[in-house]
Assembly symmetry: C2
Homo-oligomer: 197 residues x 2
DNA sequence: TGGAATGATGTCAGTGTCTGTCATCACCGT
DNA sequence: ACGGTGATGACAGACACTGACATCATTCCA
């Protein structure tokens, strides 16, 4: 018999998800999460740096997958092509996890603090993609802008995927969003020019 | 003789800016800010919802200016053109304020908490731009994507403007960033050409 | 085999953010 | 004068988070 139950981390994650869903994020205390997990408040903070972070354990894996795919894309691929390959790789990560993603997203959008945390995770992701592109000899500011584009596409497709009665898969929605973005940025009139138009 | 010194709000803002700059954000207590402003901690929280918000008083004005310009852009303007008009309008807001902007930005980039707050302000701005475009009969997802593009362009140009020895004005840098973005999104397989990087 | 090292957890005290509540007191209109 | 108003102070308290030390099953090794 082990002295402690195993999987403290995942028990804390599950307890937090449940309580945030039931009572809301702000109304849930860390003490309550720890109690439901059969642990103490102090132990919660040993696993998670703060009360929000317990919802973002998967962000590291997401970033690793995307960065690896971008770096390993064919040498002939343009920056935007490499990013497209990366986004395709993300599709598999979410297969079969739509219900979980939906529950988690409902909690996040309901809390300003959690939305802040999500945004900085996405910004970190964009920076990581930009770095990956630079390893492909892509210069600035193209690398930075392409990183922003990748995350914008992911974000919009993800929101669409999680929303209500959508049945298409995430990869498909990401390709759609990218196509839309192309049409937006190519929609300006010729009179609008970088050099003092 | 007034019982209290006037301009409590701006005294608190100045005290916070000074202390965040001297000691750093995390190392500065609200009590210290209030004391330097000749007020109490409780009064600080009557003016600002939290310790970070004291640095973001100008975001409302920024948003109003951008949204108004987008809404009032010529009816013939495409979504991306309307946004370009809006970004031009922002240029004047920062004229002569580069030193202040630089000092404030140095504080923000040094703190993860403040970066989070900045990101949600920018996300709110993007949403406001999207709403403004919808008032121009622009549909989704073009409105949302164009809002993201507007903010990405502003963000990158602003960072460049604040950085080191740059002498060009903000409006010019925003037009440059937009042109770069166009080249990024048109660099994929469907319409060819390797990017310059 | 027995004792020391290890590692996850508990306990406790303390700091700082933020909120609710009530008191204070100059100013203002009547 | 007098009561209303509005900005501020004073105070208590909840909660997030941290540092320091204690506990104790497991494991390692002489």
């Amino acid at each position: 018999m082990a002295r402690w139950q195993p999987d403290s981390r995942s028990r804390l994650e599950q307890a937090a998800l449940a309580l945030y869903g039931e009572r809301g994020f702000e109304e849930t205390t860390v003490a309550a999460i720890a109690e439901r997990a059969g642990l103490t408040e102090r132990t919660f903070f040993r696993y998670f740096s703060d009360k929000r972070e317990v919802l973002f354990g998967g962000s590291g894996q997401l970033q690793e997958l995307l960065v690896t795919a971008v770096v390993d894309a064919p040498a002939s691929a343009t920056p935007i092509d490499a990013v497209t390959v990366g986004l395709d790789a993300l599709g598999v990560l979410f297969v079969g996890r739509r219900d979980f993603a939906r529950q988690r997203q409902a909690i996040i959008v309901a809390s300003a603090e959690l939305r802040e945390r999500e945004l900085i995770k996405l910004a970190t992701l964009a920076a990581a993609v930009a770095d990956a592109l630079r390893r492909r000899e892509v210069g600035d500011p193209v690398a930075g802008l392409t990183g922003e584009v990748a995350v914008a596409v992911f974000k919009i497709a993800f929101e669409h995927w999680v929303a209500d009665d959508n049945t298409q898969d995430l990869s498909h929605l990401m390709r759609e969003a990218l196509a839309e973005l192309r049409s937006v940025t190519s929609g300006g009139s010729p009179s609008v020019r970088p050099s003092r138009g």
